[in-house]
Amino acid sequence: MILEYVIVFIIIAGAAAWGAYRICRMFSGDGCGCGKSACPRNDPQDKKDFPV
């Protein structure tokens, strides 16, 4: 029973950490969250201010 709860806890904690990591990277890093260092969306040139 304890082993069962330990496995469930690990799965839940892993999912929560993975989810938080993806969200952070999506908004602060490469945008698409693909995680590739060569992702073209990392290109600072793509980030242009809207002159509106």
Binding site: E4, P40, K47
Partner: protein, 740 residues
Amino acid sequence: MVTGLRRVALIGNPNTGKTTLFNALTGLTQRTGNYPGVTVEKKTGRMAGGIELIDLPGAYSLVPQSPDELVAVQSLLGRIPGEARPDAVVVIADASNIIRSLYLVTQVIETGLPVVVALNMMDVAKSHGVTIDAPALEKTLGVPVVPTMAVKPSTLSALKAAIEKAAEEQAAARPAWIWPEALQESFNELSERLGGDPPKTDEADVARSFLLRRALIDEGSDSEDALAAQYGPQARAVLAEVRAKLKDRGINPAQAEIKMRYGWINEAAAPHVTRLPIGPTFTDRADAVLTHRFFGMIIFVCLMLGVFIAIFEWAVPIMDGIDALFGLMGEGASWLLAAAGLGGGPLESLVTDGIIAGVGGVAIFLPQILILFLFLAILEGCGYMARAAFLMDRLLRFAGLSGQSFVPLMSCFACAVPGIMAARSISSPRDRLVTVLIAPLMSCSARIPIYVIMVAIFVPADRVWGLSLQGMVFTAIYLSGVLVAIPVALLLGRTVAKGPPAPFIMELPTYKWPAPRTVFLRVYGAGKAFIIRAGTIILIASIIIWTLSYFPRPDSVAEKYDLQRAEAKASLADQALKERVKEIDRLESGEYLRGSIMGHMGRAIEPAVRPLGWDWRIGMAAIASFPAREIVIATLGIVYDLGDEVDVDEETDQLAMKKKFTAAQWPDGRPVFNLPVALSIMVFFALSLQCMATMATLKQETNSLKWPLFAFTYMTALAYLGALATYQAAMAIGLDKAGA
């Protein structure tokens, strides 16, 4: 940059087959399409011979008019910080429209980079009666000219050799044309007045001359900024004085450049191109109907209706198969856990009720995604999308936008993320902002699972005029986002982004048979992305939702129902006992769910969602689906599974989800789901911005958190009000008594 690696850029007018050529040379599978604006960012890949190819967005000239063209030009000119100029350039010219392509060729030659001209689409040129004397053109231009057909990789060996030679030898071309005297005098004056050290190499001299010319001609461009960065802020004042002198002489530098280039092209290069007189082509004849004001629109609507009905009807047999597969997976997982001594507890519930019910509930919609992308790929590949943009120009103009917005908005029917990125091809910042703000209203493929499940369960499977009623309702809900987007765009255009729409000029490409490989790659890519999404975001969300719905598990509840089970066993037997135990199991599951974290949260928000006809579980599913809208299906699957109001093991011929929903009841015994509730759910998800990836893309593309938050707020308010009005109206006309 890897030492020894040569970098070669691919540039050309939009829709000349750059990405097809890039894919053929590198073996990569970047997305292509038979309409302008598919590539909006640079992409890199390796080809043989230690060469890195850079696929740049399409550009008509080196004077960028939109953000995607700016990326192309800056990359070519080495103005991107931390990135060197390419070692050579391949200019892809449309052989069927070579004169226009040569304008860009002449500009690129002036950069001083080694240039190779790929005369692409030679097959199309031939069908138009166009023949080009490539060796003579090569001699005139002073750069290698190689005929190619990017769709036939076997024709590319000469091009590969020319690229390797250009990158290796670094032999810069010399322009063969002479600038008008007045402009040349102005360049000289600008050069003298700015002073600075004389260039030490020929290459530096060519680069300097190029910068001076572009800065003088392209008023307000990034070349001015580059000049000021190199020669100091006083360079702007000098530039203004030199330009003023030209103006006094009645000379417009930009017009003088166009006249000079086309003058040279017509005189020196055009004689190498012969055009046989041919009658109207297939494209001309097809366009007479497909772009007709009335018939064109009718055909467009019929095509869309056909696509959506096909999505709805063709997928069912495959869905049943996937459903059965996940059913087997659930049973297999239960058996394995039981064999390992871990069955019957939270782990089995997490795996079967959480992960398999959640992920399986979404993955089942893979066939619809594949069918949608199959049609999109065919329509894009044959060239119809550009015609659709032309037809939509009038409608979009009514919404205060132009046909330039059509391609990004149409892309959003697949997914809002590439759609919003495609808006970089829009030249007007005002149109671009309005387009990205209404883009999430287009029904993306992630909405398909919600629409399909609701329509399949609650809309009668009747036929109207021989057409499936379910298919028609599905089409209507799919297009509802477009109808709502029109007034929203009008409103935004008069409030947050004022100004007139930009003029729309789009080249209509010739019709082609879609390349089977391109169609396959598009469908495969979409299917893969969907499966990855189900295996990542949906999986994560399913685990978290299960956790919130499963815990806490107070012993008092178990004790209470164990007592009832014992009483039943003492007083009943056989079938009566079996049914009583099943009833007790359901009551216990329901009590656990109501007492869970999700249950408490759900009941707190229930007053807000009751006017929409929703119970707390639907409300919580809507909130939980903020990261990705498909999560609503996963959540409903999990909470109704945990609530266990129906025994899905008895399923034989229907989707498990269908029976779960139809069995859900309010405490007074009324069914939770009926047609008005289904419509209300669909309208909510049609209009809400339940997608974190879209929000992140909006932030990236606008470089501000303000716009994604604005879009989320206005769309959530719109979705709530739309769902409220739909439910109340549907109830008022008695639709709650109708149903499948």
